[in-house]
Every structure is written in structure tokens, then in C-alpha cells.
């Protein structure tokens, strides 16, 4: 079954501390993974995708096919990182691709 699992509903860290938001997936094909973020009173938007291998706002995510994970990491959390984070998987279905989202993790960065 195709599935994205984000085990933590809420993650609280202190400013300056490292943060890791966990994401595990289940998919028989070649995975295409994303992290989307929703800041307070803003739209859900793309944060990063694994094919770009980029660092956005200090966040990185590495695809680990052995562990079927795509955890989001930042070495030093900032208060402005407080938001809702969703991991997503692009899956092939009926000749096209659609998204499967995880249930999301709310990150709170404490002063």
C-alpha cells in the first residue's frame, strides 16, 4: 500500500536547537518526495523536494531508500520556523501521478 507516515503530531524545540521532522513512506515504485509547509495564516507551499537536493531556509532532507525515510532537518531552529509541515509522496496511478500526504507535524520553536 502507498502510504506516508509522520509519527509526530507536535514537535516542540527551543530556538537554536536542532530539529528533525520524521517522514517514512511505503511505495513499490521509485519515490518522489516533497516537504510542504504552512505558516500561520498563509497558504500551504512547497518547502523542498528531494530531486532538487537543495537547502531551503536552512532545511535539508535526504532520501534514504533503505529506511524508506525522508526526514526534514535543520541544525539550528528559528522561531519563524514554527509551522505545520507535511511530507508528500508522488505516486503513479492510471497513467498519471498524484500526491499522497502525511498527516503533518506541527513544529513549535520556543524562545
Amino acid at each position: 500500500a502507498q502510504r506516508v507516515t509522520q509519527p509526530e503530531k507536535l514537535l516542540s524545540v527551543f530556538k537554536g536547537a536542532p530539529v528533525e521532522l520524521k517522514c517514512n513512506y511505503s511505495y513499490s515504485g521509485s519515490p518522489e518526495l516533497f516537504w510542504y509547509v504552512q505558516y500561520s495564516r498563509q497558504r500551504l507551499q512547497l518547502l523542498l523536494r528531494h530531486i532538487s537536493r537543495e537547502s531551503i531556509k536552512g532545511f535539508t532532507a535526504d532520501l534514504n531508500k533503505g529506511e524508506t525515510s525522508f526526514h526534514l532537518k535543520k541544525p539550528f531552529a528559528q522561531e519563524e520556523d514554527s509551522a505545520m509541515y507535511y511530507c508528500a509522496l508522488s505516486v503513479h496511478t492510471s497513467g498519471t501521478y498524484k500526491y499522497i500526504f502525511g498527516t503533518g507535524t506541527r513544529l513549535k520553536v520556543l524562545a
Partner: protein, 115 residues
């Protein structure tokens, strides 16, 4: 504007009434998605339109929910005989096509409250 738009932004209705939610995708985007966002449930997939293909309705929670996409552009999500558990934020997203790894662009959502 160039982004995805949704209307209304807020809708309060009484239990048992029908509601229609509208989504205007980014011009030229062939793929359109509806999601439901509620506390504790995260982002729940509802329906997916891609070009002229038959929509993927696998996420619709009951036959009270339906959606149309006219002319490959605007989409309407209809909820009949609304129930209190339908209260949520309904998000629409569009993407350029249904290719692998394509980015989705989200609208601001419609907050539905069923009294």
C-alpha cells in the same frame, strides 16, 4: 492574480443544507486537486482531476460529496446534506500537469462550518 483562488473564504451553514465550494486554478494547469484539512486528520485527499481523464474520486468520504471541473478549468466541490463532521478547511491545489515530481500550488482554502 496568478495564484489559485477559492471562494468563499468562509462558509457557515446549517446541518442538512447543501454547499458549493469553488476553485479557480492557475491558468494552464491541467491537474486540480481537492483536499480536506482538519485538526488531527492532517491533509486528506478528496478528488483529483487531470486533463480529460476520468477523475480519481477515491478519496471522497461519502456519496454526499461530488466535484466537477468544467472546461478543464474551474472546479466546484459540492457537499449535499451537510453534517457537522464535514466542518473543515477545504483546500484546492493545481499543478501544471500530472507528471512525476510536479509541484502543487495551493489556494487559501474555504473554511466550512456546519452548525
Amino acid at each position: 492574480g496568478a495564484g489559485v483562488s477559492q471562494s468563499p473564504s468562509n462558509k457557515v451553514t446549517e446541518k442538512g443544507k447543501d454547499v458549493e465550494l469553488r476553485c479557480d486554478p492557475i491558468s494552464g494547469h491541467t491537474a486540480l486537486y481537492w483536499y480536506r484539512q482538519s485538526l488531527g486528520q492532517g491533509l486528506e485527499f478528496l478528488i483529483y482531476f487531470q486533463g480529460n481523464s476520468a477523475p480519481d474520486k477515491s478519496g471522497l468520504p461519502s456519496d454526499r460529496f461530488s466535484a466537477e471541473r468544467t472546461g478543464g478549468s474551474v472546479s466546484t466541490l459540492t457537499i449535499q446534506r451537510t453534517q457537522q463532521e464535514d466542518s473543515a478547511v477545504y483546500l484546492c491545489a493545481s499543478s501544471l500537469n500530472g507528471d512525476r515530481g510536479i509541484v502543487q500550488f495551493f489556494g487559501p482554502g474555504t473554511r466550512l462550518t456546519v452548525l
